[in-house]
Amino acid sequence: MNRREAIKNTALLGGASILTGSLFSILQSCKSEPRLSWKPSFLTADQAQLISAMVDTILPKTVTPGGLDVKVDIFMDTVFAKLYNAEGQKALVADMDGFNEKCRSKFSKPFHELDKEQRTEILKAEEAGSPKYNGKVWGTAVGEQKPVGFCRSMKSLMLWGYFSSEEVGMKVLNYDPVPGDYLGCVPMAEVGRVWSL
C-alpha cells in the first residue's frame, strides 16, 4: 500500500472538500494511549471484567496489538448500551451470568479469575457445541440462523471491534482507502496481509 499516493490521488480528484474523515486521520499520527481505567456505560464492574477477560483471552497482545490495547472491551460496552434493545440487553445479562455460573461450578471462580488453561478449557467446550453463523449474501445471512450462543456471538462482536479499530484497520491490516483499480488475481505474497476495508 502507498498511503501518500492514495492521498495525492484523492486530493487531485476531489479537491479539498473530500479531505475529511478518514483521510484527515491518515495525516495525523496514530498514537495508542495506554488505557488506565474506564467507566462502562452498560456493564457492571463485574460484567466488564468478564468481557475484558474474554477479549484478552481471545485476542491477546502479540507482535500486534491485543484486543484490550485497542479498547475492544470499551467498544463492546458501547454496543451493548447503544445498539442493543432492552430485550437484547436482558438476554445478554442472563448470558453473562450463566457463563460465569458455569465457570464457578467448574472452577469455583468467575471467568476473569481463571488461569489461562482453565479459560481455554471452558471456551473450547462452549465453542464445540455452538452453531455457526450462516453464510451471508450482500450483508444478510441466508437461510434460518440458529442461535450461535453467548461465546460465539461475543467472539463475533470482538472481532468486529478489533478489526474496525483505527490502530488495527490502518496499521495492522492492509489499508488501501482508494485502490484506484480492481485486480482480480494477485498473489497473496504481494498483498501480504488481509485487506482492512
Binding site: G21, T120, F163, D181, Y182, G184
Partner: protein, 569 residues
Amino acid sequence: MPNFNIDAKKDMTYDAIVIGSGMSGGWAAKELCEAGLKTLVLERGRMVEHIKDYPTANNESWDLELRGAIGPEDQKKHYKAGRAGFIGENNKHFYANDQEAPYTEVKPFLWVRAHQMGGRSLIWGKQTYRWSELDFEANAKDGHGIDWPIRYKDLAPWYTHVEKYAGISGEALGLPQLPDSHFLPPMELNCVEKEVKQRLEKEFPDRNLIIGRVAHLTVEHNGRGKCQFRNRCDRGCPFGAYFSSNAVTLPAANATGNLTMRPFSIVDSIVYDEKTGRASGVKVIDSETGEMQEYLAKIIFCNASTLSTTRILLNSTSSRFPNGLGNDSGELGHNLMDHTYRVGAIGNYDGFEDMYYKGRRPNGIYIPRYWNIDAKTKSDKFVRGFGFQGGAYRPGWGAGANMDGFGEEFKDNLITNPGPWEFFITGFAECLPYHENKVSLDKQNLDKWGQPTLAIDAEWKANELALNKQIQEDALEMLEKCGLKNIVGFDNKHEMGYGIHEMGTARMGRDPKTSVLNATNQVHACKNVFVSDGACMTSNSCVNPSLTYMALTARAASHAISELKKGNL
C-alpha cells in the same frame, strides 16, 4: 447547483413539469431542458448536491462510535426499509423516513424509498441490462398480461442513447436473450470466478458466466472520474463514477439554463382541465410549510417511482376521471410486479489459497437467463425465467467468528490469512402481471401532510414459486458441478418488494380498455401526461430494470418534444 425555486410565487408556469428526480425523472429533465423547454423538477425530499452533500463519503469505521451500525432510534425511523438490510450510519440519510410516510401491508410487502434529490439513483445497485425481444414478446406469446405496444427495435436506439451518456461497463457477448449495450471496458473477474466460469460453461454449454454489466465508469467519461474501487457507492461517489441523477443528468439539465428544481415539494395531484381534455398543471404541498400551490405546464412527466407515481394518478380525480387520472381501464394500481430475491446457493472453493485480489469491486458476476429461450430450453413447470447475480471473495477476518480457537495463533492467522474462497449465486426471477396484485389509496391512514397513503396487496403466485424452486435446484447443481465444497442452498422466502424492482400499476398497452399508457408513455385519454418510471411496465423481464426506465424516458421525452413542435400537445 441550479435555480432553486424556493420563492415559488414568481414563477408558476413552465413548459414542462417533471415529478420526481430519480433514475427516470433525471433523464426526463435532461432531455426536455436540452430541447429548450423551461422545465420544473419537483422533488418531495431535500436537496442533495453532487459531492457537497455526500457527508459520509470518506468515513472509516473508526470515525463512527458504532462503527457504521445504526442505533434503535434510526432503526425505528427506518422500520420498514431496514428489513432490506442495507441501511447503516453512512447511508441512512439517503433512505426515506418510514414514520413520516407510512404505508399499509395488506400482505407483506417491502417498499424501500428514497426521498431526496436524485431519489434511489444514489443508492441503486447499478446493474444495467438491456431487455431482449424475448421480454417484449413474452406477454403476447404465453398469454399472461397484455401485449407490450413496443418491441426491442423500438427501444434499441434509445438504449444506445442513454448508455453512451451514462457510461456502462461490460463485455459484449452477442447473446440473443441479453443484448449488448454500448460498453466501456468490463471489470475483471477474480481467479475463482474465472475458474468457475470455465467449468460452468463446459458443464452447461447453454449457460454463461459473465462480469456484471454496470453503470460504473471504468475509464473517465464526460468529465466524470473513473471508479476507484472503494465500494462506498451508497454514500454518494465523490468521483462521480457511478450513474446518478445528481452526478449525471441533473447537472446536464442545469447546464442548459432551462432547469428549475424545487425540493420539499410533495405532489398532491395532477390537475385535469375538462375544457381542453389535457392536464393543466400540478398541485404541490410544500413539505416544510404545508402550503398548497399549483404549477402550470404544457406537458407533465410523472416519474415519482412506480408506486408513488400511481398514488399521484389515483389521487388525481375529476368528473372525467373519478377513479384516478387515466383510469378508464380500471387497471391503474393493478399488475404490480417485483423480482424474486435471495434464493440461491453458497459454497467454498478449495484452491487458489495463494491468490487474492486488490480493490473493492462494486460488482459481481451474472449468469443470464437460460430457461424458456427456445424449444430446447422450454420448461413444463413455469413460464419466463431468471438470471443469477453472485461472486467469489475471501471473507478476511469475517471468517473468524465461525473458526474455532482463540489466542495468539488464532488472532495472527486472521491478519495474514484471508480465509477460504467463498462463491455464491442468487437468482432474480421474472414475476407475471396479475390483476389481483395491486395498490389502492388508503384514505383512512394519512401521512404527516394529510395525504392518503397506499395499501399494498400483492404476493408471489404459483409461477414465481415454481421459478424459485428451479433457481434453488439449478444453483445447487451448478455449484456442485463447478467443484465447490460445503454447498448450502438458501431460500429466504422474501415477500414481494425485496427485489426493490417494483414495476407495473400504470401499464403501457395497445388498447385503452386494458391499459393506462400508450406506446409512447402517454396517458391514453390525457395525452400531455407521460409516465416513464417503473409504473409503465407491462411485464418485468428478469433483468434489472433501471436501464429500461432510462431508455423509455428518453424515448418518451423525444416524442413529447416532437409533438409539442407539431402543435399536438
